[in-house]
Symmetry: C2
Subunit: 155 residues, 2 copies
DNA sequence: CCTTGACTTAAAGTTAACTTGAACTCCTAC
DNA sequence: GTAGGAGTTCAAGTTAACTTTAAGTCAAGG
């Protein structure tokens, strides 16, 4: 059992493509140790935990930018502790809960709005609460916690 | 109250940008009536319901391709009925429930895995059920119902 | 007559998160 | 000594879902 892992090993163990790992390294999300003789990357085992964290966060809906900002809050120098990791991930619970709430809201809209056939942006009480849609331009975004980012959705 | 709506009116009422509406029309998701004298689009009011459906579906996590495939199942010729709409949207409930289940699984992983500090792809029972990760390359994807689409996440 | 505002088109640009390709270096095995 | 496999770099390509830009039409108001 070697002290360091090659990019291929990390890829196999994490399920993340080697090209993605290089991409993460270039972006500064993960770091590798000083290269060996042949100029190949050597990763400390702790990188696996880091990658798990990244994949986790992505799946929750964070962008790599956001993840990077989170990681920047880890203590520099020493290896992150239990407390460090959970401090980072605690707020995600809120985010997950919000997204779940939105999905439940959407599911309700499905039943009560599309299901009832009233899916009209002008008259439906779901699509148009308080009859303000036409003036506020709310439209179907009533169900949405926030506007989708341009060109890309998450959650 | 006019019989038809201009693109600006549709945009204001739906909350969807005019450029997006043109884009949807070019893709064949929505259709406009024969143009008026000045060559401007004229939309039937029913397009608002269609747009609501699209926004709804998008937010649930369907791509425009998927939405287009769904819409293709609407009866051709006549205006869609209550039954038509709800037949389309019924399977979404399953999809929403799956995504909610995934998020709950992620939330549990957050508590039991990151929270406990064991977030290791090699040892953690969440990341590595049955110690098969190293051979199967399961990694953090244990929590994931399906692999994220390349370059883009949804849900 | 001139400006303003709403519309038109087609083509190119944007963003995220990668992937792919081309050209190259090393080490190991046969 | 050469073929294979794993690694390297850098640049360019990919996909989704739009947005932006440039250049033009048309009607109404002052």
């Amino acid at each position: 059992m070697d002290r360091f892992l090659t990019i291929g090993e990390v890829s196999r163990r994490s399920g993340v493509a080697a090209s993605a790992l290089r991409f993460y390294e270039a972006r500064g999300l993960i770091a590798s140790e000083p290269r060996g003789g042949a100029g190949q990357r050597r990763f400390a085992r702790s990188v696996l935990r880091l990658i798990a964290f990244i994949v986790f966060a992505q799946r929750i809906g964070l962008t790599l930018d956001e993840i990077q900002a989170e990681l920047a809050r880890l203590p520099p120098g020493r290896a992150p502790s239990v407390r460090d990791w959970s401090r980072l991930s605690a707020p995600w619970r809120t985010r997950i809960d919000q997204r779940i709430a939105e999905l439940e809201r959407l599911r309700d809209g499905l039943t009560q709005c599309i299901g009832c056939g009233c899916l009209s942006l002008e008259r439906c009480r779901f699509a148009n609460p308080g009859d303000r849609a036409a003036s506020r331009g709310a439209g179907p975004r009533y169900w949405l916690e926030r506007a989708p980012a341009a060109g890309r959705k998450t959650g």
